[in-house]
Amino acid sequence: MDFKRLVLFAGHYGSGKTNIAVNIALDLKKEGKNVVIADLDIVNPYYRTKDSEAELAAAGIPLISSEYANSNVDVPALPQELYSLVDQKDRCGIIDIGGDDRGALALGRYAPFIREENNYEMLLVINKFRPLTPDAASTIEVMREIELAGGIPFTGIVNNSNLGRETTAEDVIASNAYAQELSAATGLPVRMTTAWDTIADEVAKVLPNVVPLHLQNKRLWND
């Protein structure tokens, strides 16, 4: 799948932005691209891009993240290296933006540079199974709040509808109606549908542009 130089993932918190960002970065690296991933999350205390630090490092993908991520320091700090994303135009940047409009506020300071270069896609990550975004109308509400806070209009939709490990291919396929309804209402294309790698092939039989995801969160328990 071809992407613009900067790919930004935003959406309702818990929609799956971080996991998708890490997976797409790893995919682009495999294609031979010069990729860097940036964690712009100033909201989440746990389950951050930093959790995948070792895997990203092993793949040779630099991670730009707050030095306080996953620590006990509860401050919304951003690393100075973030400006290199907009300055160094010879590499692809995957940008993981924090949840909701509060998370997207951090994007505002980089928005003028990103808009000026105009080589980006701003993708709205959606999950029909999240309780506050079960339909197109409620998702549009979140979407407008993020655009207002972040200063960059969305260019596409990533349908990441899932129920965690219990997700079936049928769940994902059925959620396409919701993604299409949102697409029709906003005029934004459904850029891709994401699904766990265990069910992605089955989903791909029915839906176009399916991107398989590997579960990134490391856990100390199985059930």
Binding site: G14, P45, F129, G164, L220, W221, D223
Partner: protein, 355 residues
């Protein structure tokens, strides 16, 4: 699957409270429980309820006292340092015999501590927490689904006995996402003739108060309250037994520690060690009976905790120190690994005489 949603633990608490008839929420943000307030802020206006971000934790708990006095369901939530601030109000609530739900999504302490998960407020939760002789009804979920069922249950028990209830979780449970169904929530109808609802000049007015001018009267209030506590200890302990039928070693763990312990128990069973688990679901009342019964069957215990050893004291009391007890613990925001728990199970299996 279609009836399920993917929720953070914190969101599940908030939605379950709303489904359990809670229309009033007062809180103040603190990591890692902020999503409870964020969710309430979005949902309460849509259902005609009240969300209010108070100026402090102390203000929030006192607002809860006000609503609880009218007999309406009310909730507040915070994390460890914020709960300490609320303790004065919680003691007043217990002294006024008011039902309410207080949620503590614990983080590492003491002091400002950190924002990563912890179970180090166990003593605070199970011994009352504030001044005076009192208890809270304390539930400890181990999954996002249990965040739903225990939130609803805590409201019912609180009203049944007129006691404040606490849902004690840790940061991991608050932040983790799991598929849940918001179902099976029953709203029990308990006597509210004590509530301040306006007399219409037709009855004597009710008084909600924790101050007594006579020592003998205050003593009677305490004695009456402890009769209700006796009933709670008799009727309300909850626990889950896992692979206990033939166990030689009994793991005792609640909340996220029980999830880690399951992995360790499976690994130990694969090595031929007969180990099971008793998971307290209520922390007060503590499930003393199954633990005492287990002490007559197993040769040793292992407690798994995210603190320096707090629940282990209740296990010692419940089992009357009949068997040796080892502990697998981490503190400061760290979680014990299954390997660490397994190592203690292996050690515990060497202890104690055969029956």
């Amino acid at each position: 699957m279609a009836d399920k949603v993917l929720m953070k633990g914190n969101e599940a608490i908030a939605e379950a409270a709303i489904m359990a008839g809670c229309k009033f929420y007062f809180g103040y943000p603190i990591t890692p429980q902020t999503e409870v307030a964020a969710y309430m802020a979005k949902r309460m206006p849509k259902i005609g309820g009240t969300f209010l971000q108070a100026e402090s934790e102390i203000a929030a708990i006192n607002m809860c006292i006000g609503v609880a006095s009218t007999g309406k369901r009310v909730m507040t939530s915070s994390s460890s340092p914020g709960i300490s601030l609320k303790e004065e109000g919680i003691s007043y609530m217990a002294g006024c015999d008011l039902p309410a739900l207080i949620v503590n999504v614990e983080r590492g302490g003491p002091g400002l501590g950190g924002i990563q998960p912890s179970q180090s407020d166990y003593f605070q939760a199970t011994r009352g927490g504030g001044h005076g002789d009192y208890h809270l009804f304390v539930v400890a979920p181990a999954s996002v689904q249990e965040m739903v069922s225990l939130t609803a249950h805590a409201f019912n028990v609180a009203e049944k006995y007129r006691v404040p209830a606490m849902l004690l979780a840790d940061g991991t449970l608050g932040q983790m996402m799991e598929p849940v169904s918001i179902e099976g929530i029953t709203v029990e109808d308990h006597d509210k003739s004590w509530a301040l609802t306006g007399t219409d000049c037709k009855r004597k007015h009710n008084i909600i108060n924790s101050l007594s001018l006579l020592p003998e009267e205050l003593e009677q209030w305490n004695l009456e309250r402890y009769k209700r506590y006796e009933k709670i200890e008799e009727n309300e302990p909850m626990w889950e037994e896992y692979m206990m039928d033939d166990a030689d070693v009994c793991v005792v763990a609640f909340g996220i520690a029980s999830r880690v312990s399951r992995n360790a128990i499976k690994a130990a069973r694969a090595q031929g060690i007969k180990v099971g688990m008793i998971r307290p679901i209520t922390l007060w009342p503590f499930p003393k009976k199954p633990l005492l019964a287990a002490a007559d069957k197993v040769k040793s215990f292992v407690t798994v905790e995210l603190n320096m050893g707090q629940m282990v004291e209740d296990v010692e009391l419940a089992t009357r120190c009949k068997r040796p007890i080892l502990m697998a613990n981490r503190v400061g925001g760290c979680i014990p690994t299954p390997e660490q728990v397994l190592a203690q199970i292996v050690e515990a299996n060497k202890l104690g005489g055969a029956q």
